[in-house]
Every structure is written in C-alpha cells, then in structure tokens.
C-alpha cells in the first residue's frame, strides 16, 4: 500500500472502480426518480388544473363564492374554500405554535429529567398517529362538545345554521394538535443547538433562567423556530383526512361556528363522484393548493438560507 495505489477490501483496483461507477450510477438514478416525480407531478397538476380556468374563468373560480358543481347551471367559486384554508391554517398555527414552542422550551430547558422522559416519547407518539384517527376522535369527542358550545352561543338564534359541532373551530383544534409534534421536535432541536456559552454567559450576568430563555435562547434559536412554524403551516394546509371528518364540509364563510370546507377536503370529498368540468375544477383546486404549498416551501428555503448566512 503506497501513496499511489489505493487499497480496497473487495479486490483489485479495476474491481474497485467498477463498483464505484456502478454505485455512482445507482445514486444518480435514485436522484433522478425523485426529480422525475417532482417534475411529473408539477406538469400533471398544471395540465389538469389549467383547462378549467379557461372553461369557467379565472375570476369565477378564484373569486366566486357559490360552489354548486353538480347543478344544472353549475358555479365553481372557491373563494370561501381558499379563505377557509388560509384562516383555518392561520388560526391553527396561532393556537398550536405557542403551545408547541413552550413545550419545546420545557423539554429542552426546564423539565425534570424523569418528566421529560415521559413527555418526549408522548410527543413522538403524537407524530406517529395516523391523521384519520385524529379525525375520528374529533368526530366522536370534539364535535359533540363543540355542539354544546354552539347551542350555548347561538341560543334562540333564527339565522344561524346549526352544524352539530362540525365547524371551523373543531377543524382548527384538530389541526393545532396535529402540528404540535412538528413544532415541538424542530424547535426543541433548535433550542438544544444554541451554544451553551450563551446560556452560561447570560446566567453569569445575573439573568434568571426564565429571562435567559426568553431573551437569549429563543432569539438565538430563531431561525430554527421559524422553520418549525413554516413546516407546521405546511402540515396544516396539506392535511385532509382528519379535518374532512370534523369540519362539516359545506362551503361557507370561514367563521368559527360555520361548517367549512378546506382546499384539501374539497378535493377529497368530491373526487369520487365528480365528472366532467366538476372533476377538472377539483384538479384546479389541487393546483391552487399546490401553488400554496410551493410558496410556503420556497419561503422556508429562503428563511433557511438566510439563517445559514447569519450564522
């Protein structure tokens, strides 16, 4: 074994280069499969989603408020559906992120070891629960509770349409719980990644533990926490299975006690029986959702790059 010849446990130099080349070929092939999937999905969504824009009209679809796809004189307005996705996701994030973030702080900083040993696996388990289970629990447990609240709030109302608890609030609560594991796990890693010198320095200067957490550690873990939030948004906006069961699935204004339909559930709930233009519009909804998620992902990678540059 000298400087010029490398040594391989498999065999001679020739064998080794063959193995190397094959391996490289396999890696390249695998990478292409992923890229192929992204490109073909994008192309497919665009090809299937665009025609309805011409048949129905961009304005009619994106800004129409009446969704009657199977009517004699069909109308395909998805404004309320888009708004529901935006409002629902925002509310879920507003509810889920503070809880998730504080749990992360608890796990990384303040939790006694034995308690953390219980909470941490519980959070991980939460991430592994299939979304349909969240939906079923929501349907069986949350909706009846929400119905009681609804009856209390709208007692004697003539104008409110009672939803039996299947409303935006239920969906938001389910979504908030569903994004918890994402937010907790990523923010916890970010908090743990903060150099311990920062913490020590802060404590040494006389700051209390809580002051250190909020004034030093969290600001230092900012980019990781933002990543957690954006991923949480991605999860919330892309979720369908759980909320299709609890949101009521009627197209309405996204008010807390209204039965609402999200972009995802609009596709899921009607794809089975849709035909013709109706089906095309469902693909258009898919395209809108696709664009939403793309925008979120691009924002995410921007933030990550910015974070890298800062550090």
């Amino acid at each position: 074994m000298n400087g010029q010849e490398s040594f391989s446990i498999i065999g001679n130099h020739k064998n080794k280069s063959a193995v190397e080349k094959t391996a490289q070929g396999i890696f390249t092939l695998c990478a292409f499969i992923a890229i192929l999937a992204v490109i073909s999905i994008t192309v497919y969504m665009v090809i299937n989603g665009i025609p309805a824009f011409f048949d129905v009209g961009i304005k009619e679809i994106l800004f129409g408020t009446v969704w009657k796809p199977a009517a004699e004189d069909p109308s395909f307005g998805i404004l309320y559906v888009i708004l529901t996705s935006i409002v629902g996701t925002t509310m879920a994030v507003l509810l889920g992120v503070p809880i998730g973030l504080l749990t992360a702080v608890f796990l990384a900083e303040t939790a006694p070891k034995r308690l953390a040993a219980v909470v941490k696996p519980a959070v991980e388990l939460l991430a592994g629960i299939p979304s349909v289970i969240y939906g079923l629990l929501g349907l069986m447990v949350l909706n009846p509770l929400m119905y009681k609240l609804e009856m209390a709030v709208f007692k004697g109302s003539d104008t409110h349409q009672f939803t039996g608890g299947a409303n935006l609030l239920s969906a938001v609560i389910v979504l908030a719980v569903m994004i918890l594991p994402t937010v907790i796990n990523i923010s916890e890693s970010a908090i743990r990644a903060v150099p311990s010198q920062l913490k020590s320095a802060s404590l040494a200067l006389g700051a209390s533990h809580i002051q250190t957490i909020f004034k030093v550690i969290l600001p230092a873990a900012k980019s990781g926490i933002i990543t957690a939030i954006v991923l949480g948004v991605g999860r919330a906006i892309g979720e369908a299975m759980a909320i299709t069961l609890v949101s009521g699935s009627s197209v309405n204004m996204p008010l807390p006690f209204n039965s609402v339909r999200f972009l995802t559930t609009a596709i899921v709930s009607e794809m089975g029986y849709a035909a013709g233009l109706h089906r095309q519009v469902l693909f258009t909804i898919g395209l809108v959702l696709f664009v939403f998620i793309m925008v979120i992902n691009i924002t995410l990678s921007r933030i990550l790059k910015k974070g890298d540059r800062e550090s």
């Binding site: 999905i41 796809p69 349409q161 009672f162 608890g165 699935s249 709930s269 794809m271 089975g272 849709a274």
Partner: protein, 312 residues
Amino acid sequence: MIKSKKILALICAVAMTAGLMACGSKEAEAESTAQVSNETVVETKEETKTESTNAEEPKAEETGSADISGTVSMAGSTSMEKLANAVAESFMAKYPEVTVTAEFTGSSAGIESVTAGSVDIGNSSRALKDEEKAAGVVENIVAIDGIAVIVDPANTVKDLTKDQLISIYTGETKNWSELGGEDAPIVVVGREAGSGTRGAFEELLKIEDACAYASELDSTGAVIAKIASTPGAIGYASLDAVNDTVKAVALEGVEPTVENIKAGNYFLSRPFVMATKGEISEQSAAVQELFAYLASDEGKEVIKGVGLITVD
C-alpha cells in the same frame, strides 16, 4: 399518474370507511339483527333454490353455460358495494371459471371507466345522464334502492311529510319544535355534490341545488356516524345501510320498508344501474351470463339479501 391518483383516492376511501366501520362496530351488529327478520324468508327460499338449481343443472350443461370462463370487471358506485360484492361472490361460486372483480370508485367514475372500456360493467346508483348514454353506454337497471331519512334515536319526530322534508333541507324549518318535536335546532346532514344518494334525494324532492347543508359528508358510513352522534341531526342514506344507531322516519305516513317501496308508496327510491358499453347482447359470454344470473330467481335472492328491491 391518473392511475396512481385513483389508487390513492381509493385507498383513502377504503381507509375512511374502514375507520368508520371500526368505530361503529355496533353498526355491523345492528345490520345482522336487521337481517334476521329477512332470514326466515331467505332460508325457505334457499331450499327451493337448491332444488331448482339441481333441476336446472343438466339443462345448463346442455347449453354449455356452465363452461363459461373469463373475467367480468365492474367499477363504480360505493352505494352499490354490498350488491356488487354479493353478486360477484355468488356468481363466482356458481361459475368457478369466471373471475368477477369489483372496484368502488363512485358512480361517475364507474361510468367513465365503462365508457373508456377499462371495465365491463359500470355501477351507477343514479340513472345515466343523457351525455353518458350518448357515449354509447346502456342503462341496465338491476335493482331499486330505497333512501331512508334518518334522525338520531332520541328524536321524538316519527313522521315527516314531503313538504316538511323539503322545508328542512332548504333551510326554512330550523327547529324540531316546528315539526312537533322537542325544542332543538335541526342539523341538516347530507352527502357531497356528485354523490348518487344526494343526487337521487334532491331530484326526488325536486330541491336540486337548493339545499342548505350544515354538513356534507363523503360516505354513507360517515353520514350514519354523524347522525348517531349528533342530537337533532337529520340525514339520508341507502335503506340497506341504515342500522340501529339511527332511526328511520316514515314519510307521508309510509314506513321505509321493502314492501312499501315495491308498492310505490314510498317516494324516496332510486335505481341501481349496471351500465354496459353497448347492449348486453354485445358483451362477452361471461357478462351476458351475469345479467342472466341477476334476472334469475337465484340472482334475485342475492339482490334481496343485500336489502335491495328487485326489478320485476
């Protein structure tokens, strides 16, 4: 890509119905108890059936129909799942050489598949549209399904008129007290746009696209689960899917029973169509035999066995 989408949709649908079924294990029990009442009838007829098949067997051999082999593929309505599975099972038992496959993709998807020629039979739980017929698809009605109006079991209202039902579903009547029930808001539950059940329900009541739903669910099981768990809820579902967790109300004083639907007294009923591309006589021997089987006494027993009404 289309295929993978469909498969994904199918998996989702299956997962959901499976989930709902699992949570409502009471449903299955209720079904079996509901069928008990029919069982005596079925049993006695089964005896005659075995006799008649024994008598027919030599004949079948003569004509050579017992030698039929091949495959029959169906796709379509989820409402027809029970019927399609039961027919497939019993038909394959009679003709072991024939393989019958059934997928449940929705009425429109089923007709689309049969139009495209990817399946032999497109199951549809609604009458075919003119444009679908224009594409060369023939409507073969094999059974009639009754739609039951269901409420939660605690509801005291037992009977609704057609007008009351219309006024509930168009959002004019909002409280059960207006209908002689308790003072509780009405939660209007229905199926999603494009569903065969919803199409049939709204068409029969002539309230197409005028319904104000508080909940639009995407499967029969979901509707029943929702009604069962929500006080004051009202919904609709195939008669044969109704179980003890919910209560079916009488319409215009007529109980939703097979006898009443057959007699034409119950106004909420719809056809189950097994659509073929071109007339039945143009189909493969296996498909022709399947339709002959459905029209036979044996086939009619199968149709009755899943809670449907035969066409005579």
